[in-house]
């Protein structure tokens, strides 16, 4: 506790507060661009910190950039349905529907406050239970990860949407994108068609920019004019952002999102995307307003946004205690640590306590600053929607191109993004859900890699998936999640009264 207090003492100096404020501001504005998420923003701004002598100032700025970029990404997902990175895809599902119905203000507010709540709680968790969580997380073996990926895949079937066939086709498309390129375990190329760019696989950023930013714009072009302004529904309520009803419906998803985000972030190979999708599914399943899902249910924004932010503190657990980066952002942070000659690992807390506690304190400060900066900005962001559509969409296309090109410096990568954009356009026209594609791209390679790793380690013996208790339990849970929705129906049938209304346990609706 004393350590944390001295950390605050370091961070709360005027100079460091300025760094935090600059970080949050720059992060928010850069994070708004499609395709430029937190990891890239920090990587881009890394050289700027080379000139800072004090690592504390730089790290504080990174924390600010991270939170800012994360929030900037959610802003565009909600307003324009153009998520900048995979962790805000889940937010866009309900968030954009809310914006289309004139509730952008409430969506942005629940995202900002939810991020703050989740960020604060998970940072507390980080400062209290980092060490035990880390040792638990590293006991996960390849077979367990495979089981976990299967469980996640089964649990998030709600994303499949109204038609099972179309949803599964979307998922398959994502799985296909995931296998393109060099096989990570053997170095063999798959579906590269002789192109060096494809050898490296299709990056998740390219998929997201194509599917969402480009696809959405093409769709808008076909649809023609839309009323350029959406009538804003005033929320009334406290400070005009969230009504009493919104608060009531948001606080539980915030907490549940945090509970999902933190542990998943802490798992090596966990990351931020899975908990956001899991949170979305859970909220949809639990909500008393199930009928509102797909039309802008606030729970569907509050939960994933909280999960997204909480996972970052989770990601810091293995990073700080073991030096294991579990997300792209963490990998960039690790590089930043090394530039300042700080090697994260078991001894970091003993060797550079000032630095660690200053970083943790800066997370709190970054959170508060983000809230202070962004709540007033909501009005400004919402006014983006008043920009005439042709201008707005042209700008999105320019920024999407810029985002992909600036990262890769490759025209071919941009063309790949456009190609995926065309697919995204047809998916919209023929009512294929988009989120399963992202799920396939993320979960597919994870499942395949861990499955084959487990087999390689287990000498090709499939029993590795049942002999280890942890693996077996997770797989059993997955089976349970798969059959559970049908159990009431089957029971009813067995009793011979299938016509009776049965409370279904549903994870996926089918039509």
């Amino acid at each position: 506790m004393n350590d944390l207090l001295s950390g605050f003492a370091t961070v709360l100096s005027p100079a460091n507060l300025l760094f935090a404020a600059i970080g949050v501001t720059v992060g928010t504005f850069v994070g708004v661009l499609p395709g430029i998420g937190p990891a890239l923003t920090i990587a881009l701004l890394l050289p700027i910190t080379f000139s800072l002598d004090d690592p504390v100032g730089a790290l504080i700025m990174f924390a600010g950039i991270y939170y800012g970029a994360m929030y900037g990404g959610s802003t565009t997902s909600i307003l324009l349905n153009t998520p900048g990175e995979s962790a805000s895809v889940a937010t866009s599902i309900e968030g954009h529907q809310m914006a289309r119905r004139g509730r952008a203000r409430a969506a942005l507010a629940t995202a900002a406050i939810g991020s703050f709540v989740a960020g604060t709680i998970s940072t507390v968790l980080l400062s209290v239970i980092a060490a035990p969580v880390a040792s638990l997380a590293t006991s996960f073996r390849a077979a367990d990860y495979f089981a976990l990926a299967v469980l996640a895949m089964v649990c998030v079937t709600a994303l499949v949407g109204r038609s099972v066939v179309r949803g599964l086709l979307s998922l398959t498309f994502g799985l296909f994108l995931g296998v393109i390129g060099i096989d990570s375990l053997t170095g063999q190329s798959r579906f590269a068609f002789g192109s060096l760019e494809l050898l490296d696989g299709v990056g998740i950023v390219v998929v997201i920019v194509g599917l969402f930013a480009i696809g959405e714009t093409l769709h808008a072009a076909a649809r023609g004019d839309e009323p350029s302004t959406v009538e804003h529904v005033g929320s009334g309520g406290l400070l005009g952002w969230l009504s009493r009803e919104d608060w009531r419906r948001s606080w539980k998803p915030w907490l549940r999102g945090t509970a999902l985000g933190f542990p998943f972030g802490a798992l090596p190979s966990g990351g931020a995307e899975l908990p956001t999708f899991l949170s979305y599914t859970y909220e949809k399943h639990r909500s008393a307003h199930r009928d509102e899902f797909g039309k802008g249910a606030i729970e569907g924004v509050a939960g994933p946004e909280a999960a997204n932010n909480a996972s970052f503190s989770g990601v810091l657990v293995p990073l700080l205690t073991l030096g294991i980066p579990t997300s792209a952002t963490a990998a960039v942070l690790l590089a930043a640590f090394q530039i300042f000659n700080v090697q994260p690992g078991p001894q970091l807390f003993e060797r550079s306590p000032e630095l660690v506690w200053a970083l943790i304190a800066s997370l709190y400060v970054g959170n508060v600053l983000l809230l202070i900066l962004n709540l007033p900005l909501i009005g400004l962001w919402v006014s983006v929607l008043r920009i005439p559509r042709p201008v707005l969409h042209s700008a999105i296309l320019v920024f999407a191109t810029l985002g992909v090109y600036a990262v890769s410096n490759s025209v071919v990568e941009v063309l790949i993004a456009y190609g995926i954009g065309v697919v995204g356009f047809f998916m919209r026209r023929y009512d294929f859900p988009l989120a399963p594609v992202i799920l396939g791209v993320i979960l597919g390679p994870l499942m395949e890699e861990q499955f084959r790793r487990a087999l390689l380690i287990g000498d090709g013996n499939l029993t590795v998936f049942v002999t280890r208790p942890l693996t077996a339990v997770i797989l059993a849970l997955a089976v349970l999640a798969l059959v559970a929705p049908y159990v009431p129906k089957l029971l009813a049938k067995a009793r011979g009264r299938d016509e009776a209304p049965v409370k279904k346990l549903v994870f996926a609706e089918e039509d």
């Binding site: 390849a142 060096l196 050898l199 490296d200």
Partner: protein, 335 residues
């Protein structure tokens, strides 16, 4: 080895021979031309934040800080396929442009082989090698293997019983295991190598008990070694170094296996530049290398000096390419 390199360097700066065969240079005695005359571009053939990017940006900063060039120096990132996407751009788009340099390294040499890249390093104009990092072989603290001899004895007895882990297929770590298998008389095709996407994942694999032994850059495991969670068995360089445990770890050679491998980084220019230009770029890098700012930066980043330039660099690139291709073929990574 290093002394011969230095001698060769001196020779190269005076009058460079046409090492870039197809440039059709007209004079055997090329004078150093004025260079750079405009913005110098350094391509890092990987994403921002990685080792190559860091090298490029450190060069950029040093060239400015030490006042070696007055013109602007820009860093470009071209991502993809172990740097072979950048390599292909260098050989085609930037052909003959002496103001466009590119960072390269052992990983690209492996990538050229595994990706069956159409362009290889021999087609570029080698300028210099810059830095190198040792590899380290570690086992969990609870492992029965106390030294590399124990581990290799178990590996020899039953190659499948030892699960090696490290970075991507065809990368430095797998190359090292392949070389070690060859030296120990084990068929490299029989080794069980589990590839991970980075040092972090490898660490997790080792700590969870999936792996028998892990291979990675020496700095990667420093903290875990110091904390006593893993044991370093050997380093891959020419002499033992401390990787966190407080005392130097013996080399692979000390353990009786004739293997030496360094994860080096270097810099190349596009094909087709004039001999005079090549000499000028080499001279520029020589100046960079001797500047106190570069020495300071290397110390700060923990890079060890691996400088050789001009023909010495070319000879090194060639021999390294041949050696790496051979071991990857023998390990069955490429056919």
């Amino acid at each position: 080895m290093r002394r011969t390199a230095a001698v060769l360097v001196a020779g190269v700066v005076l009058g460079s021979v046409a090492a870039c065969g197809d440039s059709g240079n007209d004079s055997a005695k090329a004078d150093t031309v004025a260079y750079p005359t405009r913005t110098l571009q350094i391509m890092a053939p990987a994403g921002a934040g990685g080792g190559w990017d860091l090298t490029a940006r450190t060069i950029q900063k040093t060239l400015k800080d030490a006042g070696i060039v007055k013109e602007a120096v820009e860093v470009t990132n071209v991502t993809g396929a172990a740097g072979t996407v950048g390599l292909a751009q260098l050989a085609t788009k930037h052909r003959g442009d002496a103001h466009q340099l590119m960072i390269t390294g052992l990983v690209m040499v492996g990538g050229i082989v595994t990706n069956k890249s159409a362009v290889d390093l021999a087609q570029t104009t080698p300028i210099a090698t810059l830095t190198a990092e040792e590899e380290v072989i570690v086992v969990p603290a609870a492992s029965p293997h106390q030294n590399l001899k124990d581990l290799v004895a178990a590996f020899r007895a039953d190659p499948a019983s030892v699960k090696w882990g490290g970075g991507s297929a065809g990368g430095t770590d797998q190359i090292l295991v392949g070389l070690l298998a060859k030296a120990a008389g084990v068929d490299p095709k029989k080794m069980k190598y589990v590839a991970y996407s980075g040092g972090g994942e490898t660490k997790a694999g080792l700590l969870s008990g999936d792996l028998t032994a892990a291979v990675s850059g020496a700095s990667e495991f420093k903290d875990l070694v110091a904390a006593g969670k893993v044991r370093a068995l050997a380093v891959s360089g020419a002499k033992g170094v401390d990787v966190g445990g407080g005392s130097p770890v013996p080399t692979i050679k000390d353990n009786g296996f004739d293997v030496e491998l360094l994860n080096w980084r270097g810099i190349v220019a596009p094909p087709g530049i004039k001999a005079g230009e090549r000499a000028a770029v080499v001279a520029l890098l020589d100046k960079l290398h001797t500047s106190p700012q570069w020495q300071e930066a290397m110390k700060q980043q923990g890079w060890s000096d691996f400088y050789r330039s001009g023909d010495a660099a070319k000879a090194f690139y060639d021999s390294e390419s041949a050696r790496i291709r051979a071991v990857l073929v023998e390990a069955g990574v490429v056919s």
